[in-house]
């Protein structure tokens, strides 16, 4: 029979799980010694790598969404062939596959965008970019707490490098704060993880979830302390108020393609909170169930409020976009904290939609502003008087004034505005609707659970944040597209505008395919809320070769 053959094939296909980490890691490493003069080679390598990753993550998402076949549902990859909880395992489930897809999609867009000109702003852009993706993908895939730390560090280290890409006073100043805060947060991460290990003797998330149910009260307390401290580390990344003041400055200082991928960076914090709070402190966690949810709700709401205020107060578009990141984060945090299943599904949809939007917006901003003032270029061009002869990284004015550029840019801007404000008919609206309908529910005849004050506050904030985005985008859009006196058409490359269009197109696609997408999200949320499947798959996965 072909059983043998098919099992061999499926064994090989099993390795697909690790490829989202390995491909960018190795491609990034291979690029290191290539001379900067051959930047385009690196660009092409990076493009191929991200393209492959994109296709791969699509395949993985497909597979994990199916109920049978290879990699169906939750699949486990035991690194070094050591079983969980002892070895490190990668876990592919709907959620991680979704995040992989999102990351690679954004990365592809940013990668293409960067080749037009931004990768010339400094050295080793493409290596750092690939390694950032490796870090992100690793963080999404790993099922081990300490390994998560390692991937966080990869991601952060690469993000430091990419934020500083292009150098210049603004970026360096923002980078200093960003690095300092995140280094402190990393210390918290380590303290949290090790404390959890000290109290439970395990590092595996699934194992931790199991152990927490049977642990002694004293040790449980220590786990909670550890989780609390760990949570702070994640919330710094996720951008919760008051831990997020570094974010607007850092994100708005970054070069556009970098800022575009940074949009997904905060989502890593969100992802981990979502994963851990539902896995470890889910319904099965006994006394600790629902640990920290109240704080998450309160903090999330404060973050929305702060983000919305920041959006209103922002004069520069990049800052507006950065504050939108906070709004998005806050919305997600509070939704996770409120924790109804259908709300989490909606939140997942929102996560994807808002990330795509903000990413597109970051890419768009520079194109729009390019024609208006040289502000962006001032940042990029360093004071070459002090540089060395071997430096040629002056970002040259390039790109062509394509007819209709302004119209396309304007249209893209409109779409961004609609998406950010959550106005119909695009996915920003659909996402908010999904969250709200999860909150309100369609109970009908049977009595619905009463809505709490928190629920109402959340609704209010959600609406107000949309309103603030509308007002701010309106203001900035009118100023940029309608009121500008000198109508110099920005010179842009097609490969710069195409990624924006594609990302926004993805949002439109999401709106059109809202039904199937929401089904995927609902299934994801359901599996998150019932983590027994996850823990069982992780802890009972067989080793290769038995034993």
């Amino acid at each position: 029979m072909s059983m043998e053959g098919s099992s061999a094939v499926s064994d090989w296909l099993h390795h697909l799980i690790i490829l989202p980490i390995l491909i960018p890691l190795m491609v990034g490493a291979a690029m290191i010694p290539i001379d900067e003069r051959n930047r385009m080679i690196k660009g092409v390598m990076g493009f191929v790598s991200t393209l492959v990753l994109f296709v791969l993550s699509m395949v993985l998402m497909r597979a994990s969404a199916s109920t049978e076949g290879f990699l169906a549902g939750t699949s486990v990859y035991q690194l070094g062939n050591w079983p969980a909880p002892f070895g490190i395992v990668l876990v592919l489930d709907r959620l991680s596959a979704l995040m992989l897809c999102l990351t690679s999609g954004l990365a592809l867009a940013a990668q293409v965008y960067s080749i037009a000109r931004w990768h010339t702003a400094g050295h080793h852009f493409h290596s750092l970019f690939q390694l950032l993706i490796a870090g992100l993908n690793g963080a999404f895939l790993t099922g081990d707490l300490f390994n998560l730390f390692v991937f966080f560090e990869i991601m952060l280290a690469a993000s430091y490098g990419l934020l500083l890409h292009g150098s210049g006073p603004l970026r360096v100043k923002a980078g200093l704060h960003y690095v300092a805060i995140n280094l402190a947060a990393s210390s918290l991460f380590l303290i949290g993880v090790s404390l959890i290990y000290g109290a439970t003797g395990t590092l595996n998330m699934a194992d931790l979830a199991i152990k927490l149910a049977t642990i002694s009260p004293e040790n449980r307390q220590m786990v909670e302390v550890g989780a609390g401290i760990l949570g702070v580390a994640f919330l710094v990344k996720a951008g919760m108020w008051p831990l997020s003041f570094w974010l607007p400055t850092a994100y708005s200082a970054a070069t556009p393609p970098v800022a575009a991928v940074f949009a997904v960076l905060t989502k890593v914090g969100i992802y981990v909170i979502l994963r851990l709070s539902l896995l470890v402190f889910g319904a099965n966690a006994g006394v600790s169930a629902g640990f920290g949810q109240t704080l998450l709700v309160v903090g999330g709401m404060l973050t929305i409020a702060f983000g919305a205020i920041g959006v209103l107060a922002s004069q520069a578009m990049a800052r507006l976009a950065a504050y939108s990141v906070l709004v998005s984060s806050g919305t997600l945090m509070a939704a996770i904290g409120l924790g109804h299943s259908s709300m989490i599904a909606g939140a997942l949809f929102y996560l994807v939609s808002s990330t795509l939007t903000i990413s597109a917006f970051f890419l768009l901003i520079e194109l729009v502003e390019r024609g208006r003032d040289a502000g962006a270029d001032v940042l990029a061009v360093t004071m070459e008087a002090y540089g060395d002869a071997d430096e040629d990284e002056e970002v040259d004015e390039a790109g062509a004034a394509i007819p209709g550029t302004m119209a396309v840019l304007g249209l893209c801007f409109c779409l961004c505005a609609l998406l950010l404000a959550g106005l119909p008919p695009l996915s920003g609206f659909v996402a908010k609707f999904a969250i709200l309908s999860g909150l309100f529910g369609l109970s009908g005849a049977e009595p619905a659970p009463a809505l709490s004050a928190a629920d109402w506050t959340y609704v209010t904030l959600l609406i107000l944040s949309g309103l603030s985005a509308m007002i701010a985008m309106n203001r900035v859009g009118i100023r940029t597209f309608w009121a500008s006196i000198e109508n110099t058409v920005p010179r842009v490359f097609v490969i710069e505008i195409a990624p924006v269009v594609v990302l926004l197109g993805a949002c439109i696609f999401l709106s059109l395919q809202a039904g199937p997408t929401m089904r995927y999200m609902q299934a994801t949320a359901d599996s998150l809320l019932d983590p027994s499947g996850y823990t069982q798959r992780v802890l009972t996965a067989p080793r290769v070769g038995g034993q």
Partner: protein, 968 residues
Amino acid sequence: MLSVFILAPFAGSLIAIFFPSDQRGATAWFAGAIALLCFLIAAGLYPFVTSGGVLRYELAWMPELGLNFTLRMDGFAWLFTVLVTAIGVLVVLYARYYMAAEDPVPRFFALFLAFMGSMLGVVLSGNLILLAVFWELTSIVSFLLIGYWHHNAHARDGARMALTMTGMGGLCMLVGLLIMGRIVGSYDLDVVLASGDTIREHPLYLATLVLILLGALTKSAQFPFHFWLPHAMAAPTPVSAYLHSATMVKAGVFLLVRFWPVMAGTEAWFWIVGLAGLTTLLLGAYFAIFQQDLKGLLAYSTISHLGLITVLLSLGSPLAAVAAVFHIVNHATFKASLFMAAGIIDHETGTRDMRKLGGLIRYMPGTAMLAMVASAAMAGVPLLNGFISKEMFFAEAIETHQANLLDTITPYVATLAGMFAVTYSLRFIHSVFFGKTPDDLPKIPHEPPRWMRAPIEFLVLACLVVGIIPAITIGPFLHTAVVSILGTSTPQYSLSVWHGWNLPLIMSFVALLGGIGLYFLMKNYLATSTEGPPVFRLLHGQRIFERVLVTLSWKWARWLEQRLGTRRLQPQMRFLVFVAIMAGALPLLLNQFELPSLLVRGIDPAFALLWAIGIACAVGAAYQAKFHRLAALVLLGGAGLVTCITFVWLSAPDLAVTQLLVEIVTTVLILLGLRWLPKRIEDTQESELLSLRVRLRRLRDFVLALVAGGGVALIAYTVMTRPMPETIASYFLERAYTEGGGTNVVNVILVDFRGFDTLGEIAVLAIVALTVFALLLRFRPQADSLEAPEQQQVQNAFDDDHPDRAKGDSVAEYLFVPSVIMRWMFPVSGMLAAYFFLRGHDLPGGGFAAGIAMSIGFILQYMSGGTRWVEERLRIHPLRWMSIGILVAAATGIGSWLFGYPFLTSHAQYVTLPIVGKIPLASAIFFDLGVFSLVVGATVLILIALAHQSIRAPRAHARALRAAKEAK
């Protein structure tokens, strides 16, 4: 079939945008054809609708969440569809001539069609959420249409205001609709319309009502949200005629009618809707009188008429609802025609200011006639359609519905408003078409093109026909609409011009005569007065709005942003520390934490002594870091050394080895950086001059630090004194040798059990090295650290001063003997690295330690000989080392695939070689080789990149100086 109503306009919009901008006619024809198509289809559907049928079309969108693309046409929706499409056709025709050649017409018609689609969507939505979708779409497209002439500041402001108001209302309405869905259990309109009692009795009824009304009232420009509409008049006139009189503003009252069966009749409804409507009715009419802008007058009149409809709907009586629907249609006809007339006047004379206009009947008698008829309809003159619906309104106003103050004053307010309506209608006609012709008109007016007037003619004809023979013309359609709303409770009503001498008729006459009288009283005042009614004109709606918007969304937001956030690092750090302390403390405080008992026994005095030193060093470092950098660094080294000894003491030789090596490299690294920091000389006076604030701030930080330190110490102590839970460590200890092939369990964990962590860790190192390298390529030192350090200047000067010495002799002498030894240490460090590398799997050491040891050997050479000296002799290619490092490590991991095992599965085997004997050959060795290679590359790259600044910066400095000199 229904989907065509949505698809055709939107598809048309997409196509229209691609029309060449000079093809005005073609684009208009195209848009008109689409509108006409929709109209014809609607007309064709009449037989089905009039038989009481409800057409439905459903497409799944998010079926699980109850959101579907459901279209639904009943009689009322049909009436509106016809209105929207019919007036749409007429406006397109009008716009064909109205728009100037230089206007980007394709954009106009594209937006126009998009608007029509959205409006039809609102009308036809069979799903609450879909309704909200189209609702917001109308706002958005309206925004773009108002701002069509965006070079005009009024257009921009008007557009923004319209969007802000209606968009805000729409968002509120969305929430209201969501709650309604929650109450009913479905967003389907049919289900909702069948659940009136459930809704009205639900505790959330009031919230729902208020939220939905916010949507409706903002859209229909009801008081106090009315002010956006006059400013929307900056839009091209076809837009005003279509959106802001006939269709979009009707969406609000449409919604009120739509939900009338399920929401009306309660006291809350009566009060809120009635109060808003009545106020709007009166104020709108009053304001209209004092407008000088033709379109402004029409806008306020529209507001007033919408208030009239709202009042009718507030009453809760079926008959009033009939009147409301009727007036919706009537108003659309006469107001659209008036707007078009105003547009023609503007078009022909170049102004819309009534003070500048007059006597136009001589130039454009046809237009004048049409405008007069339409105005008369607006004023409620008998034999015109406006009269009939106004009579119905008066009749309903007299009726007692709720027996309260509001109910009582309705007829008086109605009459007064009717009077005002007559006044402004009369003013419109009289000041434009009669009186003396001004001689300062921008253009000489004449009749517009034939087809530009046609739409007005058609509409005025409708006014007349409906006004004279209502029962035959509008009657059946109205009935169909009304039945679809009221169903079985449809009242008996008669559409006829003459009901006999009754109170409403008397009210009409009072209004008519009073209005005429009022106009002639005020005529002279109005001819010269400024825009806006006395007193109220000071209360500029727009200015208030702008003020509020700027204050709220800009000043307060900025103030709040600054208060709630900070761009300074120190407060951010403080927050982080504080939050972390809270996060750690809360679980302890909430669950009654028991303090562990202090164990003083078993303390090794030598160990205690060590940490007394360590603590002194740490505190000293903290104390000295500000003014005595070097001292702080020395003390930091002391603390690090004690840490290393602690690792040895407590059974972690691997850690000690690694930490020691890292310690040394870190010290060199920071020293390399120290050169580029500014001088900082302690001001001895400083401590006395410190302000109280600074002292307090330091005290606060000190306390925060103490709490953090105390907390961490407490937790550490607590965990340490508790028994170890069952841990994964046992597994590693059991299998490190038998399955991992090494006796050093820590190393086996690093390269095998948790080798993936190590792979990640070296990636971090690589990334950091790249970042450092890239950043330093752009390094630009401050001017004061550009020159060579003072020591070098002094020593060079000394060399220069002495003829027997060459420049650099000092340093050569200084390092002469040391460098001999340092050079010989290079192969030794290589040996040490090899030793650590090879033994790592079994004993303390490993690839990382080896790598650092090797790179220290390199650094030593740089220190002894200087950068140039070393690089003339030894080309290290750190980037290659790094690349190869990661690739080798990863490839080792991939190698296990070939044997069918997962990534990084290690394989250990002993190989017997001649002479050498048995040697262990684990795949982990190759992995560790990668680690080694990367560590060497990264460490050397970081240090050397930093060191290179010392030769780069002066060179660049010299170059810059030279360039400056040449420039002079």
